[in-house]
Subunit: 345 residues, 4 copies
């Protein structure tokens, strides 16, 4: 990669404090399989943020692994998951959920967000007993795959509907850091813990080398969970390598700080581009920016930067996607904006 | 852990060179999903050892994950795996293989090792078409779960039988480092690559923080393999974190050096114990030692050391298991032997 | 049921000749598991119709069983099936396909029929390797779930595209009898056998007590198929009970005769209703009729007949669905039409 | 088949009363999917025998289908089944249970029968949490695959242990008719219903053309069961065809009568052979007989009869297996014995 990349939020390694801690603890002998002292400390620190001193927490190495373990542990084989059709499990996990035997009912929705109305309609159109799989879980992502975020009120409404209709609510938090530190968001990790049955906190995209923390507020889903972590190959012998990272991220609120930084860089890009007279295809809610730029400008930007051209907007302009992260260099953001300004001038 | 532990070979972190390299490369932007430069360099280095300049190599974070991806990618649903009943997939993976839909035919065998005769007999007793699952893969571990190793001749015999009987040969190399550097072993990594259809090289137990490298000599098994890595949740966004570790381990033969060291420590324990007049329940072939000691001595050793009491031998003695690793402190081995000697004196 | 039913095409038992033959052969001792003489004779008779003297044929007791055996035997776990979103496997089989581990890519389409263009577009939008399941099979129903049929030219176009794009073509023939004897159809069973990789001929809805015949023109899909029939619980000890039914249905073209009769009754209903001045929501192509009738008339018809009210058309009228079969009594069709006429007069 | 066959108990069609009833009811229009009046009447009749007026009963077409539906509906993916290694699910179902994702823990046992001691030992050796699948169901067959039967006291002991250890007890009743009418048996269908969590009553081997009745005394296992019947392809459109057969079999105790007859024929063979001076390899408990005969006699018998040669006994003699059924001709039994006597004279 010779250009500077705004392709994604996982192009760099991890926050320096994590590497320092790895070195510091490296030769300490620890109990295997997640029972080491770092994992225990990470759990204690996280539980404070979650406002729940007993909630079970498991660390796994990736998001697809988290989602498939949750599906296979929470559901019986006839039970299905309702997801936005833009949902990661529906679109980008190579049928991982189906490979555990479960149907995903993928429904169209605006902005990548499910609503109570959409869920009610989906229940109604999947009620032909016993010829249709039984909807039993609702899957949402926050932030969503298109960068939007749920408000506290929206999550309360989903949570209430799920309780009423005997549905389990799963929140995929690959970008939960960016979501809860978004300007638009009034959600906290504690809210998420209070309002969902199971969710996970993404480390990979927020300063860790790898690792996601599965949190299980609903006790029924916690029963026997460790078997599923092992059965799906996610129980690392050196669980310390995951626990330690979350320990570092949740000491001194580093996790929230890094998340806020990624949003700040997105907003700097977003407002700078708008200031140059260009418009956005979508509101910048978290760490993804979707500006509409002239194709000639896009070509010039590509000489120095990597990013996705999302879709053609009209004959002369296209929407591009810029992703920022905890590691984004502010100087590169400024250099990007300078190039935009040059062209617009 | 206050005592020094001989419980397993994954109680410490990783070799210091790996941490140094992580720091050095940390902020370099890299392509995701295993297409980074460190993974590529690791593959190139490993292929030299394997004597095969094109063999596909995939890195995943754990051994159960490696085994289940291999089973689900290589087999159709009616195909079964023959394994020693002491095999890791048969005994310690929480039904991970069965969860992908495949039957394991677990057969009793001495020393944890399969032989052509055992396989032939298993084929004969599983031939009731179509009422029995079709044996299609043979699973062996080297070193085995009880520390024994296969000779080159033994592996050739298994390989030939598998070709004759249209069976795929999978070698679980969680401890392949200890196996090929064992005194008794005349096998090389190249031999393993020549003689099996698919195998994996364990990093977790040989100096890495985590990570196993799946190697696919049989081209038919390589087709579409990446889909399965992703579908089972093993495709890390920051694949660099795995690739880099194997790069370091295969520069300057570090992998073989660390493996040989773990065996050396085992032999030091083993010969020291024998020199004190005690016997072994099994030959020390790799990095596991099974001495038979008086129960009173065992109690005294437990004051300072952690290890498994394997089984009762007679009224006064028991077999214990001691595992050594790349990180075993020679001083602790000596301290252990001193305590044994004290008692036997 | 006190009313006469047009609800479905499986309300009665089976054609009388089948029962006569069951009695006649009842005490003959036969080899189990589909190797009886009746199954063999059925296969021979069917192969003549199919124009293929060696094509493998397996009998199973139901359509969902046929579909799930085909999916699990033909596909590896990362491979997906493209289906119309009205397809039986996508909508009415309780996630049976997903329960075998495979994703269904359900796509909207007019009239329940897939076209080459829709398939090409689906391939294009599912090409993100390896993050999306690999489309490998195309599933069509003929007649479709809404009663439409494919022309020979349409099937040729699908078949050619599938060959080009390395896709397997599966035809669900639950109502293949009604499809190929439809006025609009120029397809034969031989065409279907020439143009698909695997398909099944429905007995349940065409005169049998139960039973569908899976036909496998593509040799690669035939390999080891019997294992899958057994593994999914479809291998009946008394396979004779299925084979005998197909033997009777394919002697003297009874199958085609009964199918044509069901279409004839549908057309009698259809044209009679139109003659009374009412319109149809859809062309009557096979054995399903969708008239739009005044709600007051629908109420009166319900006093004597059972049928589904499909959907509201406007404030005063609704679309109903009438299904005919090999067993439909012509006198009841006439009685139904008399009531319609009475009201319209 | 030119010879008379003692190969199995499913070589003929079905009891004549069933065929008569099929003819009688053939054109009656019935609700589909098991909600017909014959299925309802069958359930009512069976519930009287079971001493439970509400117990849920589902009809499916075969035994493997019954077993796999039960496993997949009752178990979560980490839960395993304990079975005798001679159990049908372990040995003769092509990995059907594993294909639904569940491990079978197959244990050696005498006479094909599990005991509380064996189960306790199996629990102890499968307790390595969470590295081993969790034993959750116990599978027994009655009569077993080798013709032995459980006494009431034995079943009580198993039932009590299962309740104590939180295990579900599944009884495979493919030959439950022969089991409960065995001379040695003091069990009733009501006992089985009181003592197990779920079981099935085999029709295929006791006078039906096909069909097994799954009975679910444990309410927890009954929840959502219909979804699983449909998902696994077992929900016949014309469920009447199965229900009607059980209706006929449970009117006037025909089921018990036919079962007793099959045992009577087995005992006639057994005692006749013993009377000729030959011995048995195993006690004749139900409808399977295992005489040890001279190889020369076996050759002569094979000229007129079909049966399995089970295993070589010594240089001159072998054990054969003779199976009788509801359809066995007493004249053929006598003819068989005459030939034995001729030779022994």
């Amino acid at each position: 990669m010779n250009n500077y990349s705004f392709l994604d939020d996982y192009s760099e390694g991890c926050h320096a404090d994590i590497l320092a801690r790895l070195i510091e603890t490296n030769l300490s002998q620890q109990t295997a399989y997640g029972h080491d002292e770092y994992s225990e400390k990470a759990r204690t620190l996280m539980r404070k943020h979650l406002g729940n001193s007993n909630v079970p927490i498991y660390f796994v190495s990736g998001g697809t692994l988290a989602n498939l373990i949750i599906a296979s542990s929470a559901l019986k084989s006839h039970e299905a998951i309702i997801s936005a059709n833009s949902g990661h499990i529906a679109l980008r996990e190579t049928g991982a959920i189906e490979a555990t035997g479960h149907k995903i009912i993928a429904v169209p929705c605006a902005d990548g967000k499910l609503t109570p109305d959409i869920i009610e309609a989906t229940l109604a159109s999947n009620a032909h007993y016993p010829h249709m799989a039984k909807p039993r879980m609702v899957y949402i992502s926050n932030a969503t795959e298109v960068g939007t975020v749920y408000s506290r009120q929206e999550l309360i409404a989903l949570s209430e509907l799920c309780k009423q209709r005997n549905l389990l609510l799963l929140l995929d938090g690959a970008r939960i850091g960016a979501a809860i530190t978004a300007d638009k968001s009034d959600l906290t990790l504690k809210d998420v813990c209070d309002l969902t049955d199971i969710f996970w906190i993404g480390g990979t995209k927020m300063g860790a080398l790898m690792g996601e923390a599965i949190v299980i507020p609903n006790n029924m889903l916690a029963e026997d969970f460790a078997f599923h972590v092992k059965q799906r190959g996610a129980l690392l012998a050196k669980g310390r390598a995951l626990g330690l990272q979350f320990q570092v991220l949740f000491e001194n609120d580093l996790f929230l700080e890094l998340s806020a930084y990624s949003n700040k860089m997105a907003h700097k890009l977003s407002s700078g581009i708008v200031a140059c007279g260009f418009s956005l295809a979508a509101d910048t809610q978290s760490n993804q920016v979707f500006p509409i730029l002239p194709n000639t400008l896009i070509e010039r930007l590509k000489e120095k930067f990597d990013f996705y051209v999302w879709e053609s907007h009209d004959n002369h302009t296209s929407t591009i996607r810029l992703v920022t992260s905890w590691a984004t260099l502010e100087s590169e953001v400024e250099s990007f904006l300078a190039r935009v300004q040059q062209d617009s001038a």
